[in-house]
Amino acid sequence: MPMGHTATAQAGSGGLTATEHRLANGLRVVLSEDHLTPVAAVCLWYDVGSRHEVKGRTGLAHLFEHLMFQGSKQVKGNGHFELVQGAGGSLNGTTSFERTNYFETMPTHQLELALWLEADRMGSLLSSLDDEGMENQRDVVKNERRQRYDNVPYGTAFERLTALSYPEGHPYHHTPIGSMADLDAATLDDARQFFRTYYAPNNAVLSVVGDIDPEQTLAWVEKYFGSIPGHDGKQPPRDGSLPDTIGGQLREEIHEDVPARALMAAYRLPQDGTREADAADLALTVLGGGESSRLHNRLVRHDRTAVAAGFGLLRLAGAPSLGWLDVKTSGGVEVPQIEAAVDEELARFAADGPTAEEMERAQAQLEREWLDRLGTVAGRADELCRYAVLFGDPQLALTAVQRVLDVTADEVREVAAARLRPDNRAVLVYEPTTADDEDAADEITDEHEGADK
């Protein structure tokens, strides 16, 4: 519990500060004071995500996250939701490749309740985990999958591109939602084992941000979490490292009932936490972020071949990040025409790099995104946990903007030249079908299932 840092603002932190503490059971605690609004955010990151799942049990981390809202020893049924909302708070949980997070934003005077609730489920979830809750949440999650992925056009693109980008057996080969078959196969014992392995104070970081009294908050944390025993059941995740580049283009063509042709691609990029990742972020912003980007200007404004064109960055700390290209074609435009234009723009950028004005624009955009993230207590709490869990130092959250602003145009060009190449990407092409050519669709389906294996 000692080891309290002094709360002195660092350069480039926008005046924000955070202190770090550790309980005897290994729980790391990060506190950040801000009294502008009478609210406090509680955020708890468990260092477990879909990358820790094993073959045949994809989706378990996320299904388990749902079970965390089904009650614990002192909290009946939906009590986590009922108590927080009844106290004027909001709450949720999310699961990604690398972590599972749970968060409550409370009016200041209800902060203690949120800490009590999180401690109760961290220490005693198994006492109320039962078949009824498991069966119910299995159905809810399957409907979540249908709603977000299976019943919307292009809904499975993310899953397909991820599977192409990370080879079979790689911890990031599958996405957090998991497959229907694996969701069906998960058992109550799997869930119990998952909890015993990953849900321990020494595998978590708790941040509390906002209108708080740090001493009082720390005393509450000690009171509620301090007696939860730590344990070392967790195995490190499987190694996610891969060569810097793919060394060839991976490709899949989907014939599906979608409204327009689409070209999507994932480029293999540097891992999060590196200066190269920030440089890649800037490169993708110049090329495909917003309405003044090169791809938007080329495809949407000049060529008028696309209805929308953009790049996004999926930052990952335990495996290469992904640079996400998404282009929906206009009218009857064919994909090869789009692809040639994209390749031309990327090649030109790799040769010349960004202009000074493009650098300024991209940095200004990313700076505003950071101000948005850090502008709410919940956003700040989440970022502090992220840097603590993935990089071991929550203070890095407060200086992240400065690191983006420090990157030079040369570094941006270098990462683009090295990584944004046709032989370093997985490509997904969508060709629309109509009811009339279902036979053809079946044929192609077989083909790409073959390609998947």
């Binding site: 909302q85 409204p259 309405e291 955009q365």
Partner: protein, 464 residues
Amino acid sequence: MTDAAVTMSMEFHPQPTAGEARPWAFPAPERGALPNGLTVLRCHRPGQQVVAVEISLAAPLEAEPEGLDGVATIMARALSEGTDKHSAEEFAAELERCGATLDAHADHPGVRVSLEVPVSRLRKALGLLADALRAPLFSDSEVGRLVTNRLDEIPHEQANPARRAAKQLSKELFPATSRMSRPRQGTEETVGRIDAKGVRAFYDAHVRPATATAVIVGDLTGVDVDALLAETLGDWTGDTSEPRPVPPVTADDTGRVVIVDRPGAVQTQLLIGRVGPDRHDRVWPAQVLGTYCLGGTLTSRLDRVLREEKGYTYGVRAFAQVLRSDPNGTGASMLAISGSVDTESTGPALDDLWKVLRTLAAEGLTDAERETAVQNLVGVAPLKYETAASVADTLADQVEQHLPDDFQARLYERLAETGTVESTAAVVSAFPGDRLVTVLVGDASVIREPVEALNIGEVKVVTG
């Protein structure tokens, strides 16, 4: 380590009680006007480094010329596609150089333009926004591109189950002569007719500072707002105009079901709605409470059964969305229940949904439910309004709906004063089981029969 060991060694404490609440109130804006007639609402929010500016233009959808549905949308988008100082491309570049975002959209009450920018670059971004309002280029080439782009978007919306359901519900509820019956952003037929001349005519007729309002919210420490406004939005000139009469809203909520056929769909998108009162109505606070109890969250009545007991859905919500209000204090909102359920569960889910409505009508809400709803809706206000953008958005909504500037602040007091009986009456009258239009986007071959068996109204199947 065994579970027993974990459980035994953890020390449990009783549930803590709340501390003393710190007061919070929805911010009161300062209201003023520029010499050009532009109304200005400003609001200082300490710590909010990203400033939000909302411009509300009195250019409602029903003002679109006949056959040109979508011209308000194209005009809104074209505002940022070049001005007398910058080409379209330069404008986008200059804006992003400020780290700003600028969005514009057209809806029933009018056109809204939303700017967000770090306060350090507010001056420059506000200048660009003023250019866009004062001297948009509306070139043939850019308008033509926006029209094509809009035409390309329509099939994507058509394919999205939630968007498709919303479009069908509007068509069902409102008479064909009402603008509200038709897609906000136009159809392929009407958008195809839009050109630069039409956009310019709509702008000339409906965009002027005298009928517009600017809302500016954020950490304005050290910012000379008056000087800033004078040299930016103050340069915008225009004549005055008579306020347009607001046409009354009529709707047919005869209980019936429309299935939009999607062969092979794995889920059915539900949208069940009718038309009800707007925020001017005295019943509004009670309706807010009752609607929350019915379907505001995962622990509300609908999700307690459909999600947490039956697992039919990832979530179903009930809500009221204001369509349009007039200055005399009348108006209408869309009252609706929406969500999606797996195809096989469509019949049973709707059956349960109607049972929830009937039970609510027969037995009413409990005091505990009403109390939780008040605690949540009032309690979450400080977090809901933490950012400048959320405050600016609500202030601009109030302006558009002709509500007083303290409406939201007063609403929290009124919610706390509203009892269980009133809340029950409001929600039961908002969602009567026999006056709801049900739109289902799903596989008709599977869901039609079970839905017909429910007797919730005549069932019709449409395609497209």
